[in-house]
Symmetry: C2
Subunit: 205 residues, 2 copies
Amino acid sequence: MLKRKGLLLVVSGPSGAGKGTICKELLQKNEQIKLSVSATTRKPRNGEVDGVNYFFIEKEKFTDMIGKGEFLEYAQIYDNFYGTPKAAIIECLENGQDVVLEIEMQGAKQIKEVYPEGVFIFVLPPSLEELKSRIVGRGTETKEEIDKRFSCAFEEINQIVNYDYFVVNKDVKQSTKEVESIIVAEKNKVTRYKNNIIEKFKEEL
Amino acid sequence: MLKRKGLLLVVSGPSGAGKGTICKELLQKNEQIKLSVSATTRKPRNGEVDGVNYFFIEKEKFTDMIGKGEFLEYAQIYDNFYGTPKAAIIECLENGQDVVLEIEMQGAKQIKEVYPEGVFIFVLPPSLEELKSRIVGRGTETKEEIDKRFSCAFEEINQIVNYDYFVVNKDVKQSTKEVESIIVAEKNKVTRYKNNIIEKFKEEL
């Protein structure tokens, strides 16, 4: 039996494209897929649970982990640090579990540098019009914020060239199926296993 | 709407791995996938239909087509020529239809040189033991032929490095699903469309 390592799925996309909903659906349908939990130095908000929403850690501990290279990526946003701890992810992957990581594009780029065998998926809205109406539909932002988000989203689409796959998110169920197909295909890629396959057959002789 | 070109699926594998059965199942389940029909200069056998089993053509016509570069690949086996005509395939691909081509490894290699955007799939038997019992199970060959086929099959497995994907054929239905996932994933690959995607969004502004 060929031992297949887990995949690290890195999912990005402009705000409002629906990447969060796709990840949620993917996790609900596939028990063997784990969600990567980020670490942060910011204080927990009401209802946030340590180890579920984030790992809440002290700044000293965080900078210590940076020094030891224990993050796949990290960023400082104002006074707070956010990062993706490496150890838990690598352990899952070695055990054949897939890990999904929803992250903005700068973080994805850092991850690609240290873990190029990750599977980088870019979620697109069906159209810019649709994107705008989704951002407006949230009803939580001022007109100025909406305009800013929208022009950012347009700029962000250029980042697609750094990704392996795209998913045009017309319908969450359909998009999730596409992500599932990407997982199957990636697990059947010769470059992930070529020596193992040949070895496996040679052992039998 | 993003225009997606069809895919050329090139399926190979050692004799007895079950590539023919997978292709048949794939075609039955997916009407939009077409089977590539080869051309040959050999005479039709009983029951063979021109345009279905092969395009039966004269040697002069065949060598003329070679001269004009009208084959994706061709080979001479003893006195007869066999080849894959390019025009019909390209037409299907441009119309967004996928084309499946079951071919031995030398032919696949030729196709990869002229059409590297093809999707090259290698069908593996679950094990060499299983392969042997499948070859024996056909009951149509002598012991010597079986031994020869079997040692060829082992040598052929080294060719897997020239392919993009492998499918371990334990079960035809499962293997066919894996090929279908490969098709979906390939259609969502950024490298196939990156300029188109960005253009598509820019047009809307």
